[in-house]
Symmetry: C2
Subunit: 200 residues, 2 copies
């Protein structure tokens, strides 16, 4: 069995959303699965000295335009959220909790949260929004709210962020296929060639 595609991302990353809507179909086509790995760009940027895209002079204006055009190019519904960027610590912890309990809801949770934020303009940093999403997916919202405050879950997310930095992740989405790093939604054609024909 071929190794899974490792998909590092932050819930507040527009390009992560765009790639998340495309990667599974391509993975399936080539007999792979996708493993979603939450990280926190805020923590990562402290190490790389980078600034969030939309806050860089000139680049910020372009990037907002590019999010929308790249979404149209890929045929994906996208609306720039009113609150952007937002803290994704809690939602990332919620995912870590689902994953560490082996829940089959982990992957639907990833997609539902990203769509809530980037297609439906819901502020995913708000506990009430997360509780709603949990309920929609049949996840125990109270258990999730408790997990987000659980020191063991907090530690797991910290370890996940450290792991991402150790792997060289400096932005999102950041994908590894057979150990080969691909940064950005726009590397999808290169990922697909790798999956189809192997290393190049």
């Amino acid at each position: 069995m071929a190794t899974p595609i490792e998909f590092y991302f932050d819930f507040s990353s527009p390009y992560s959303y765009l790639l998340s809507e495309q990667i599974e179909a391509i993975a399936t086509k080539y007999g792979r699965s996708v493993r979603y790995k939450p990280t926190l760009l805020g923590a990562v940027f402290k190490i790389s000295g980078m600034t969030p895209l939309t806050q860089v002079p000139l680049k910020g204006d372009y990037s907002r335009r590019d999010f929308e055009r790249s979404a149209r190019f890929a045929g994906i519904k996208f609306t720039m959220p009113d609150a952007f960027p937002v803290s994704t610590v809690n939602v990332a912890r919620a995912l870590v909790w689902l994953q560490s309990s082996g829940s089959a809801k982990s992957v639907p949770f990833v997609h539902t949260v990203l769509r809530a934020y980037f297609a439906h303009n819901r502020n995913i940093s708000e506990p009430a929004v997360l509780a709603d999403i949990a309920s929609e997916l049949g996840i125990d919202a109270n258990a999730m709210a408790a997990a987000v405050q659980d020191p063991a879950i907090k530690d797991k997310l910290k370890a996940a962020v450290d792991d991402s930095v150790k792997r060289g992740v400096f932005g999102a989405p950041f994908v590894f296929i057979d150990g080969e790093p691909f940064w950005g939604n726009d590397r999808l054609p290169q990922m697909e060639r790798w999956l189809q024909y192997g290393p190049f």
Copy 2:
């Protein structure tokens, strides 16, 4: 006649080289021409507060790997230059001089310089290398060396850099098609869709 594709670039930008090797064939396919517009990323980065790609922690290592993989993906010969990045003020002035004198050698000069640097590891910041390239192309090397020190040419390049910043150029390559901005070699598929079907 459709408007020309405006191609802002810096001679020290690997992705500018990669796109320069592909853009003209696509332009021709859709009845367009390409206008090469030199800028200086050093000056541009001062305004945007950005750092050269290869000097960002983590991102630097990835980007070197990505230059080479993106070149292989596009079937373009690429060798990371030993001296990188280098000052491109003189070579940009040389291009401004060729363009303002209406020389038919302007476009061949762009390609020959970019290939010298990114395919043949020649240090294009060295006057002797520029003189060699001029001779190879049948350009008067002495006249070019003089032009590079000409205050009128210096002013023209300054004005060109200011113009690029005014247009929102914060990196390279940076392409405008019908006024629509596209940043990066990796936006080529979106450029091609625009050229083929118009705005999307």
